[in-house]
Symmetry: C2
Subunit: 326 residues, 2 copies
């Protein structure tokens, strides 16, 4: 987070005054107070133009507590229905794929519906007769707005290609809604080439032919899964940035690395801040500062191209700050 703010400060034009307010959320706070995010904090957060979220969590917090109580709470409360996750294989970065394919696509993951809504429950919990259900909720309202956003993004890119990823041969009701909406909205974007892939097949293409993808639109859960895979093949989770976007601007959008908090290396100076820095680029773009966003991305590309010796978190942040300022 410190490196992200360092680069953000360095890239801003002199006449833009940056006001930041740190919020002490996450695992440490939960251990100390049992609180994740209070309603008062949620109200305060609403006042900001944007939120930069550091990776949260440690193994001492029960699974689900911070996810539901903080991360998903923010995504839902601020109606972050576009979860934007670009994948680009920069030169000189690692990929497990032979042949270094030319990867440059973006996943538009729905952020406010699907099995993430918390609409599940169990009966006879802990007994041999337990039944535990999870409900994926999909609405025409929710699907159409994210599909439309994805078409807009595809339309604005050189290749103008949009792929819907779902599992409509099994999840037939949700799948029908997604596919019908995708086809119907697509008629308004005749220049955009479309195709459809089942999520299982999509994982195959992500390793066999990731260059085929331009923009992908998909639901919350499938988006979660394929963007981790996408990050893995395009430089690793240490480089993957994301935006939780409320396109209407009614609520602040939130930017965060895709990776977790890596508690095993916390404080050692070994964490790569690049995903957070690239999240800053997405934040700048969202706020209309395209030139600054590109400067940050170019700085990262240049830094990666020249990477050799191991550097600390701080050193990488310093190097990037120098590049964007210069």
């Amino acid at each position: 987070m410190a490196q992200g703010l360092k680069v953000l400060t360095a890239v801003l034009p002199q006449d833009v005054k940056l006001e930041t307010k740190p919020y002490d959320l996450g695992a440490k706070r939960w251990h100390a107070t049992g609180e994740t995010l209070t309603d008062a904090e949620l109200e305060q957060l609403k006042q900001h133009d944007a939120i930069l979220l550091g990776a949260i969590g440690d193994p001492g917090v029960p699974s689900g507590v911070l996810e539901r109580g903080l991360l998903l709470k923010l995504r839902f409360a601020f109606d972050h229905y576009v979860n934007l996750r670009p994948s680009k294989l920069f030169p000189n970065t690692e990929t497990p794929l032979a042949g270094r394919p030319d990867i440059d696509f973006v996943v538009v993951r729905e952020g406010t519906e699907g099995p993430y809504v918390g609409n599940g429950g169990s009966i006879r919990t802990g007994t041999p007769a337990e039944v535990a259900n999870e409900v994926s909720v999909n609405t025409a309202y929710g699907v159409e707005r994210v599909v439309r956003d994805a078409y807009e993004r595809a339309q604005a890119r050189p290749r103008k290609k949009l792929t819907l990823v779902h599992k409509n041969n099994v999840l037939v009701h949700a799948g029908h809604l997604w596919k019908n909406t995708f086809d119907r909205v697509g008629r308004e974007y005749p220049e955009v080439t479309t195709d459809y892939l089942h999520v299982d097949a999509a994982t195959i293409f992500l390793v066999n032919d990731p260059a085929r993808f331009d923009v992908i639109v998909t639901d919350n859960l499938f988006g979660d899964i394929i963007t981790d895979l996408a990050a893995a093949v395009s430089g690793g989770i240490g480089l993957a940035a994301s935006g939780n976007i409320n396109p209407s601007g009614e609520y602040p959008s939130m930017f965060e690395p895709v990776h977790g908090s890596a508690p095993d290396i916390a404080g050692t100076g070994k964490a790569d801040p690049t995903a957070t820095v690239l999240s800053v680029a997405l934040l700048l773009r969202h706020l209309g500062m395209e030139a600054e966003a590109v400067r940050v991305e170019d700085a990262v590309a240049a830094d990666l191209a020249g990477r050799a010796a191991a550097r600390t978190t701080d050193e990488i942040g310093d190097a990037l700050a120098v590049r964007v300022a210069g």
Copy 2:
């Protein structure tokens, strides 16, 4: 299918009489009659020791019709709760991964629960007010039996390692049931080393370090997704076999390639029958014919090791039949 039967016939000892009965199911039949699988056929199928299923489907059949009406109907009717999917990277086969990692693991995918149960629906369908839900149903009964099966398999393997894959930080109710069951049953298998991965993280390891896996147990949907990815990294979907197993033997188990019907190359002689042949090996093993199963697998390994020129479907089948017989 023809090649699978050819190899099966060739590998059987002289004193074992093979009786086969072909069932004309799939896309062609559906186009002609509108039927997928009748109750009478289901009854007849029950009489067999095992079922070998050819890949089904063509683009003319609406999505979901054959899946729900035939494939999933069989899996559910015959209580195929263990969906077994081995992944092994044979020498001289293609993998998109640099460095050809040493891949040899098996996924035990639950086959009768999760979002596959068909427990979904929609209201105001086709209107801007549509809501479409899909329910993942998980029972202690269903989870425990498949988890137990996975522990048994892990226990029987040299590395004795079992990984649970789920998404228990978001799907907290189902996740709780899976994780608790996994931990509780694990106490009966003190020799088995266990770990847990979220499904998104599992996709990363499948491309970055697939050699770490020995046995994976997971739910129906996550299993669907990660086994396609597993197939892609270990020789491609053309080599991936699977068993839909009813361990109690109350119903016949069913063996099939993981891949689809590839309607674009149907009848051209270009399809690789290896996944079907490897499914025959799983069938033989399930029926207690371990030596024959190994012979088929060894024949495939030898055939792949020597593969050079392009051969037709038939030529590959012939070559394998000669190897298992000789």
